[in-house]
Symmetry: C2
Subunit: 117 residues, 2 copies
């Protein structure tokens, strides 16, 4: 039961690293070859490729090789799955607060028991 969503595991794991978030951020502005993804990152190309592989395993990023150039792009549908998981939990919490507010507002204004009569 706990393992129904292995892809959420991989997506959140992929997003838990600042380098990979920089790569997602870059790709949100449009597709890019691996060399361009690597440019702002202070690490070897092979380290960048490892991060890219983790992003691809999670489904957040796809890539395609044409000739000698591998171009990466984001998958917004995968981003949406991760976003909606969090949003749904927050919505449940907020509906609960709304119901609590309605319940309290519906209580008649009675004097406290125990107050002077």
């Amino acid at each position: 039961m706990l393992n129904q969503s292995p892809s959420l595991d991989l997506m959140f794991q992929a997003l838990a690293d600042p380098t990979r978030r920089v790569m997602v951020e870059r790709l949100s502005r449009g597709p890019a070859p691996v060399s361009e993804l690597a440019k702002p990152l202070a690490m070897s190309l092979s380290a960048v490729v490892q991060h890219l592989q983790e992003l691809q395993a999670s489904g957040l990023v796809r890539s395609e090789k044409v000739g000698r150039v591998r171009t990466c792009r984001i998958d917004p549908a995968a981003l949406r799955i991760a976003e909606e998981w969090i949003a749904a939990r927050r919505a449940i919490w907020e509906r609960r607060l709304d119901r609590l507010g309605e319940f309290l507002a519906a209580q008649p204004d009675e004097p406290n028991q125990g107050s002077k009569s």
Copy 2:
């Protein structure tokens, strides 16, 4: 520069585990003592407490001990930070697609160069 958001690291790391997501899911329905969080989970109480500590370190969950009972609650503001990071990246991508669509729509309908004249 890459380490500006250590809390995002911890939040996404916390959400990358299915047990911890079950705990967040339960807490989105209202505060709960640790014993109740542990009930549906097939693991020792100390393993649950370790998961809870990771959720607390990330800021997604807070807890308070009154007498002998530790009650846990979700922090919806922290959930929102993680959600909004993803939503912002997706929005950048979608605005880019919109601009591309507008650009293409604004092109005059010219016959292809190279077509028969």
